[in-house]
Amino acid sequence: MSIASTSVIQIIPRTRRGVELLLLVIAIAVSVGAYVNIGITVQNAVPASTGYYAAGIGLLALIAHFALRYRAPYADPVLLPCAVLLNGLGVAMIHRIDLGLAIVAEAKGKVPKGPAAPQQITWTAVGVVLFLVVILVIRDHRRLQALTYTAGLAGLVLLVLPLIPGLGVNLNGARIWIRLAGMSFQPGEFAKICLVVFFAGYLVVKRDVLTLAGHRFLGLDLPRARDLGPIGIAWAVSLGVLVFESDLGSSLLFFGLFLFLLYVSTERAGWLIIGGLLFVGGAYFAYMTFGHVHRRVTDWLNPWAIDGGQVKLGLMGQSWGGILGRGLGQGHPEATLYANSDMIISSFAEELGLTGLIAILLVYTLIIERGLRTALGCRDIFGKLIATGLAMSFALQVFVIVGGVTGLIPLTGLATPFMALGGTSLVANWAIIALLLRISDQARRPQTPAAPVSDETIAMAVQKA
C-alpha cells in the first residue's frame, strides 16, 4: 500500500546544540551591537566598557551552552539564545538610561547616580551560576516532586516576607520588596517557582479525584463542592497578596498559575470559569474597597490626568517612538520614571519603535511556546505541569507588565522578565529557563531504543485499522 510509505514519519532525535551555538552567537552579536550603537549615538565613541560587556554576556552565555552540552545535550536549542538576547538587550538599555540620566543630572548641575548596568551584569552572572546549579544538580526534574510540600511552604513564606515589619519595604505603592544587608529583593519571583512546583506536585496526586467527581451543569463539568477547598485557598492567598501587598500583578500571576495548572491536570474548563469568576469578583471587591487599587484603575482609565505620571510619560515615549523608533540613544527614555525597571519596555518602544517592541514580544512568545512545547513532549505528568506552569508564568508576567506599560490594563509592579533592572527577577528567570531546559532535555532525549519496526508491520497495522 502506498499509504504506509507516507503516513509514518521517523523522528530522529538530534541534540541541536550546534543550532543553539549559532543562535547564541547571533544573540550576543545583536546585544553587543546595541551596546556599541548606544555608545556611538550618545557619546560619539565606541564605549570603553564594550569589552567588559561583550566578554561578560558572551562568556556567561557560552558557559551556559557548554553546561548544556555536558549535562543536558537534548535540551531545547531556542530557549537559551532567547534568554541571552533579552538579558543582553536589557543590560544595553539599562546602560543607555544610565547615560541619559547622567546627562540630565549634569545639565542640572547634580552629581549623577552610579551606573546600574554593571550591577545588572553582576546579577546576570549570579543568574547564570544558579542556571548552572539547576542544570548540574537537578539531574532529573521528577526528584522535585518529593519536595512538593516543602516548596509550597517555602512559596508561602516568600510571599509573606515583605509583610514582616522592618524587612519589607513599600516601593511605588506596592509592598513586594524586602531589604536585606543593604540590598533589595523581590521574593515573589522565587515564590513563583516554588508555587509552580507545589501546584504541580499537589495536582499530580489530586487530579483524579478533581477530574472524575462532579456533575454537569449547562454543558460544563463542575467539581464537587468539597473539592473546591484548594482553589478557595489559592484564591484567598492571591487576594491577600492583592490587599496586603497592593500588588494586582502578583495576585493575578499566582492565581492564574494555579488555575491554568488545575485546568491542564483535569482538562475541565469548569475550573477556569469558576476561577475566572472568583478572580473578577475579588478584583472588583478590591477595586471598590481599597484606595490603592482604585487609584491604579483610575490612573489606567485616564493616564493623562497625572502630571509626571510614569504611565503618561511612558505612553508619550512610546508614541514618540512611532513605528520605527527614534533609534538607540536618540530618544529620551530617561524622561520616563523607572525607565530602566518597570518601564523598560516603554524605553525600547521609544528607541526601537513598534517594530522593535513586536520583535521583543515575539522573543517572549518563542520562550512561552517552546516552554509549552516542552510540556507537550514531556513524558511525565509532573514535568508537564511544571513546564506548563513556568511557561504560563512567563506569559502572564509579560502580559501584565507590558500590558500595564502600554496602557492595555492597569499598571502593576511585575518585573519585565530578563530585561528590567533588578537582581531577584533576573536570577529567578535564569532558574526558570534552567528548569525548562532540564525538562526539555528529558522530553527530547530518545527512549531506550525499541526494536526496529519494519515498514511491512506498519502497513499491516494500518490496514487493520
Partner: protein, 484 residues
Amino acid sequence: MNSAIRRLAVAAIVLMLALMANSTYLQAFRANEINGRNDNNRVRDSQFSVNRGPILIGSTPVAQSKESGDRFKYQRTYANGQVYAPVTGFYSYLFGRGGIELTMNAELNGSDPSMAFRRIIDVISNRPQQGGSVTLTLNAAAQQAAYDGLAGKTGAVVAIEPKTGRILAMASRPSYDPNQLASHDTEKVSAAWKSLNANKNKPLSNRAVQELYPPGSTFKLVTAAAALSSGKYTPESKVNSPAELPLPQTTVPLVNEDGKNCGGSNSATLTIALRYSCNTAFGTVGMALGADALNEQAAKFGFGARPLSELPSVATSQFPGDPNEPQTAQSAIGQFDVRATPLQMAMVAAGIANKGEVMKPYLVQNVKTPDLKTVSETKPESLHQAVTPQVASQLTAMMVDVVNNGTGKPGRISGVQVAGKTGTAQTTKERPPFAWFTAFAPAEDPKVAVAVLIEDANIPRNDIAGGTLAAPIAKKVMEAVLGQ
C-alpha cells in the same frame, strides 16, 4: 492533558497578540495625537533641537536657526524682529509658538508629510532632521514703511497685491521682539512673557488680523458697492443728504461729521457723498437698500468668513445679524455692530481695485525643502466677484475723487493716481475714535491696496481723522511698493 496545554498555547498567543495590537494602535495610530500634546516635553525638546528652516522674504531670512552650542543645539533668531513679529510670530521653549512659526511648524521643522521622503533619506543616511524654508509674500520696503509709519501709535497696516491677494505688508504696533521669547535663558523668557502679557497695549496681538474694529466710513465703500450693484443707483444719483437725518423708531438722528449738509447740498450725488463722507446720504441709501443687501455685499467682500488660514486666531469680520431700520442706517456708515479687521478693509479696496474680484489673501509664497526643492507654491485664488467690473470702475472713479478733491487728500502721491477712502469711527466718548484709510494705486492699473487703522495716536481727540492721521502712512506704504 496535551489538548489542554495546546489550548493554553493558543491562549498565550492571544495574550501576546493583544499586546501587539494595543501597541500598534498606540504607536501607529494615536502617536500623532499624543505627540501633539502641550505637556509632551519630549517632543517639545526634540523639536526645539531641530535645525529649523528659515522664514524668508525673498532670499533674506527674517527668522532663522543658528547653532547655539548649548543643549538645544540651535538658537532661533529674528532679524528686525519687531517689524516682522506680527507675521513670523515667535518660537519659545516655554510658551509655545505664534504666527507662521505656529501654523507652519511642521514644514519648518521638517516633520510635514510633504517632506516625508526627504526624512526617510535623512534617516537612512543618518543625517539629523532639517526643516524646510517658508518664503513670505511680504515686501521688505513696504513692511518697513508700514512699521515706521505706525511709530508712536497704536494701530495696524495691511497691504495687498490686488491681482493676486499676496499680502505685501502686515504691521502692527506696539510690537515685540520675538528674540526675547526665543531665548534659551528661561528666566529672562518668563519675565519677558509676563511683561508682554501685562502690557495693556497688547503688543502680542497682531492688530491687522486678530482684533476687530468698527470700520467707520471706510465701510461706505461697501454700501456704495451695494447701491451701484442694485441697479437703482449710479454715481450721479442724487440722494437725501441733510445735515441731520431723522431716523425711524428713535429720537437720535444721524448727523454728518461736520454738522453741515453734504458739500452744500441737501441732495448730493453718491460721488459727492463719498467725497465728503456724508453719513446722512449713506444712511439714506442703506435704509433704502435694506440690511440684507448690505449684508450680502459685505459677505462678497469677505465679511462673515475667516480669511487667512496661515496665521492663528484670525478674527472674522462681521456685519450685524438682524438690524432694525435705524441700526441699518448706522451699519451703512460702518457704525453700530459692524466690525472689521484691517485685513478685511484692505480686501475691500483690493477687490474694487481688481475689477471687482476679491482674491484670497495669502502670506506664504512657497515652502521649500532644505535642498531647495519646492514643496508647495501658493497659487492666487479667487474668493468672490464682489461687484461687476463696471461697478468696480465706477467705485474707483469715486475713490479717485475722494483723494483728489475730498477727505483723502493727504493720501496723494505725486505722479501716481491714488484711489481711497477715509474713516473715523466713533465708539464711546471715553476712547479716541479709530482713524482709517483704505486705498489703492495706481488707480488705472492697481499694484497695491492698503488699509491703515490707527487705534490710538496720543493726540487730542478733535485732531483725529482718517485723512490726516492714517492716509500719510498708507501713502508711504504704497510708495514703497511702487518703488518711489
